[in-house]
Amino acid sequence: MNETQGSLKQYFANIREAVTSVSKGMGITFRAFLKSNGMRKQLGSVDYGAGPVTVSYPEVKDDIPLNSRNRLFNHVEGCIACNQCAVICPVECITIDSRKKTADENLDERTPAEFGSKPKKLKLLRYEIDEALCCFCGLCTEVCPTECIVHTPEFEYSKYDRDKLTYDYLNFKDDNPLPKG
């Protein structure tokens, strides 16, 4: 850029170039400053653009789509212990134990008319998910025939101890309340 720095003409040309290109950038900054609320309307529903975009997180929460893939939850009353979620999981974070039901046992809390299809054949003894291992790929929720394992939009469940992230869904307890649904 500075090959012809020697000549006086070039010297002033350099100054002019620097001033114009800097003022061009500053012009954009000032334009954004002046119309800080006008640009928001362009995107309709999505509220970004010039103007404050930071969400002051713990006080204000951003809207998370209902179908977003965060923490897993298993509604055990619907689980038929088919083991498909444990098989498809690429990181093997789901552990299931089950046994065959005995002849006089009724595992379904609902009446036959309600569950529609066949009654449960396996008794679920253990359903554990190590949420620390989970990679949130969503494959388990897709193979589940009864749709009892779901991703919830809940994402605030960090713990001080890694072991506490292993959840036993048959007697589920957690410090953080879970969203309903």
Binding site: M1, K24, I28, Y48, V53, P65, N67, R69, G138, L139
Partner: protein
């Protein structure tokens, strides 16, 4: 030697740049031999982000590998998935449904915009411009919002599957993407105005890190890095996949507008111009989106024999998947040809004689992601 000379004598010093250096874009360690401010040699040291992707893939079913491909190039996950899924589809001889193909084009072009925005934003940050980074991230945020609504995740989507895509476009999302395209073009022009003609930016990038066309071909560069050296090679044009032959767009190569062919500025400029083309493709794809199935008939447990190699045009270059199948549920071997690894190969030759501050500009312009280099 007099005492003054001894005090001021120069010597070569080896310094380490990285692996925690902010402008190496990931965990890359560079061993730089310097003579004053001039670089004598620079040796990239890789492997800090090695996660055994290829070995993991050998022990997973075909479908289970898809979440792992996300983690290769984590800023362009959609494109990585698409490459793998196309390779598996070629292996089991299934073609995705027309609607799925169009959705794939939409998501991979949106992802290309997001990836280029990140590349340009951090590049300008590396060489001292703070504003364009904020602008780029603001617009990238919209795309991540669209992807979150579409797939449920913001970064690692697991959305493209062998045979189609996982979810259909949710209600209103089509209009949202259209809105984004309308909104984005003026914003892009604004970012361009901030950077392209800026005197400081040009001083830092023009005539720096020149990769000549011959050298780019000899090293096997691809994607933007190759087109920035003036060679017109775009896989979407040369070897169309996923129906890219139906769309009207031009592949962007280096111009003589500023600097010389193959320098950092031209690589940056190709990225900038390519986003305009991507917006065009997204708009065309939205117009030709037709109702239909999103998933072709694919067996639940994919089994195949034979081998397949397939390359796709990713934001960082041509990403290739080589899959060998032996008839079992799991692939026998998966090899990834990553464009970033190839970009790093030229360091030894190109950086000698460069100023130390220029290497930051050079690294940023090559735009590699270490997740994909180390795999």
């Amino acid at each position: 030697m007099s005492t003054t000379q001894e005090e001021f004598r120069t010597q070569e010093i080896t310094i380490n740049m990285g692996p925690q250096h902010p402008s190496t874009h990931g965990v890359l360690r560079l061993e730089i031999v310097t003579d004053g401010e001039i670089i004598k040699a620079a040796y990239p040291d890789l492997g800090y982000l090695h996660r055994c992707f290829e070995k993991h893939a050998e022990n997973r079913e075909y479908l289970q590998v898809v979440p792992f491909t996300d983690r290769l190039d984590y800023v362009a996950a959609m494109n990585q998935e698409l490459g793998y899924c196309l390779a598996v589809e070629k292996l089991i001889e299934v073609e995705a449904t027309p609607r799925a193909q169009t959705i794939r084009v939409i998501v991979s072009e949106l992802q290309r915009i997001a990836s280029h925005l990140l590349a340009i934003g951090t590049y300008s940050l590396d060489i001292g411009g703070f504003t364009p980074m904020l602008y780029a991230f603001r617009d990238r945020e919209h795309i991540l919002g669209i992807f979150e609504e579409l797939s449920g995740a913001r970064l690692l989507y697991n959305y493209v599957r062998p045979g189609g895509v996982a979810r259909d476009l949710s209600r209103g999302l089509e209009e949202k993407i259209r809105e984004f395209c309308r909104y984005f073009v003026p914003q892009l022009v604004e970012i361009e105005e901030l950077l392209s003609g800026n005197a400081i930016f040009m001083d830092r990038t023009c005539k720096v890190g020149i990769v000549s066309p011959d050298m780019a071909v000899a090293y096997g560069f691809s994607g933007v890095n190759l087109r920035g050296s003036g060679i017109d090679w775009d896989l979407r044009k040369v070897r169309p996949y996923s129906g890219y032959e139906k769309y009207e767009f031009s592949s962007i190569t280096a111009t003589l507008e500023h600097g010389v062919i193959g320098d950092c500025w031209n690589r940056y400029n190709c990225r900038m111009k390519e986003m305009h083309e991507s917006v065009k493709i997204v708009e065309q794809a939205l117009a030709r989106l037709e109702a239909g199935e999103i998933m072709a008939k694919v067996p639940k447990a994919i089994k195949a024999t034979g081998e397949v190699y397939l390359e796709t045009e990713c934001p960082r270059g041509n990403l290739g998947y080589y899959i060998v199948a032996d008839g079992s549920k799991q692939p026998y071997r998966v090899k990834v040809k990553s464009p970033g690894f190839i970009s790093l190969a030229c360091f030894d030759e190109l950086t000698s004689g460069m100023m130390l501050s220029d290497i930051v500009a050079f690294i940023g312009s090559l735009d590699f992601v270490m997740g994909e280099v180390d795999r």
